[in-house]
Symmetry: C2
Subunit: 295 residues, 2 copies
């Protein structure tokens, strides 16, 4: 097979995908080739534009390291992450809704006892993050793992400024008690622009878009027999709720923070006023491959 | 705008592309979002599959450096590079046909006088590469720049084994004489597998495809007033002409190498038998933006 033109090459590439039986790799590859070629035929790039695309992807790769994931940012700003979320999220209206993982989750976050302060050295308004993890019927789940992470009062995550803070902060892992509850002290997060000093920032600028996300706290909740819940809780009243650069806002995930005076909180005394984010998280039962409930 | 589902998010992303007047960035971005979302809706990836895709792209980025371009490899094996070639190449049957640039062109190649040996330390059958650069009517062009690069007799390029050869070889830049001619000595290239120790190699394996390209010599020819010609000359009889992993073969670019005995070649004496690759390259006049010929 030789001498392909702009129409015959798509079949030619698909014909190379030899597999005695249909596989997921085959189906995904064939779909990728068809849609990618359709895109190229529509935009009809010059060689110089193709080179620009190669350089753009290469530069995204250069910006990736242990603390930054520029490909996730790209997926987020193109709406792909929330599209994957929408495809996978099938709530019956009882479980907590999901949203994007984002680029700032880190696997190595430390586990703390409930009531710990995860931001002892960070300036900002005090925030009590408190919640209960339940099944879809509201029965509390003990021993569930809750990962929490959020930005500081200027909108930066710890991993964006490790030269300044020299250790992880505003993030931690907790286990729920017998009553399903977890809680910790931190600071009130702010709205923030996603990192826009790299190629994804350049893309947003070229597209005439702002890079802002409304203030939120990330939660990842796992419990045996239940599907992993990846979500945020957004702060009510934020000016970016309707223009989140990654399209992640769902009404059910917005909570009003309550302000409290000094006092006694779960047998700890606090000497400054604080905000409270309180929330119930309902998990979905995991289905086994046959579709029966195992949780 | 909040609470997007798998259908509304595509319009939502496109609606963010604010631009007072239509621009190329706007059109390309809108097309990218539409086709990418259509792909995602067709394959319906799980979160784990989305993570696999992010890791795949990240790993491609990690394999890129000054001497390796894994994103070009990906574009090549998916047929995208040849599709861009097909879209841009509109021959009237007189100019030399184009094919992929490939990942091994290097800007810093040295310029040599005609007749130089660009592979003095490399083992392999001697090859005289010789050609003439003309306009579409066959009139020779003097002072044209010809970049030549190819693999060794085991199929490796210099930049793939710099720890072994410690300098560029099997590549050089030449200027055509008044008669349009250029020539140099090198060695006969071999068919070779594209670098398949990285993520693109893993993709080919998963797709059940071999990674081989037929033996060829790359040429890039530039001359004032003419469009840059990026092409190969393929060696006739190669077993991979019909299954080139990057879909780059065109019949008009296949040449039979002639074998010659020792003798006198353009006032140089050679003491070993050698092969000859001889070829005419016809360039296309450059059009100015109004479509008139400027060359």
């Amino acid at each position: 097979m030789r001498n392909f033109n702009e129409n015959t090459i798509t079949d030619a590439v698909q014909d190379r995908l030899t597999s005695p039986t249909p596989t997921r790799v085959h189906d995904v590859s064939a779909a990728l080739v068809r849609h990618l070629h359709a895109l190229v035929r529509e935009i009809r790039p010059t060689f110089a534009e193709w080179e620009t695309a190669i350089k753009f992807l290469t530069r995204i790769g250069e910006f990736c390291d242990e603390n930054r994931q520029e490909f996730i940012l790209l997926s987020d700003v193109l709406g792909v992450s929330m599209l994957v979320d929408a495809i996978n999220y099938h709530a019956e209206g009882r479980e907590t809704e999901t949203t994007v993982l984002g680029p700032f989750f880190v696997e190595r976050a430390e586990e703390y006892p409930n009531g710990s302060d995860i931001s002892p050295e960070i300036s900002g308004d005090a925030l009590l993050i408190s919640g209960v993890v339940c099944d879809a019927d509201g029965r509390p789940l003990s021993g569930a793992t809750v990962d929490i992470w959020h930005s500081d009062s200027e909108g930066y995550y710890d991993v964006q400024q490790l030269e300044k803070v020299d250790q992880l902060a505003m993030r931690g892992r907790f286990k729920t008690h017998d009553d399903g509850r977890f809680w910790c002290w931190s600071i009130k997060p702010a709205p923030y622009p996603i990192p826009h000093d790299g190629p994804v920032g350049d893309l947003l600028k070229a597209q005439g878009r702002h890079p802002w996300r409304p203030a939120h706290v990330h939660f990842m909740v796992t419990a045996d027999g239940y599907e992993k819940l990846v979500t945020h809780i957004f702060v009510a009243g934020d000016p970016y709720l309707d223009s989140d650069v990654v399209f992640g806002v769902k009404d059910s995930l917005i909570e009003k923070l309550e302000q409290r005076l000094v006092g006694n909180v779960r047998s700890q005394t606090t000497d400054r006023p604080y905000w409270v984010l309180n929330r119930e998280f309902r998990l979905k039962c995991k289905l086994d491959p046959k579709g029966t409930i195992t949780g």
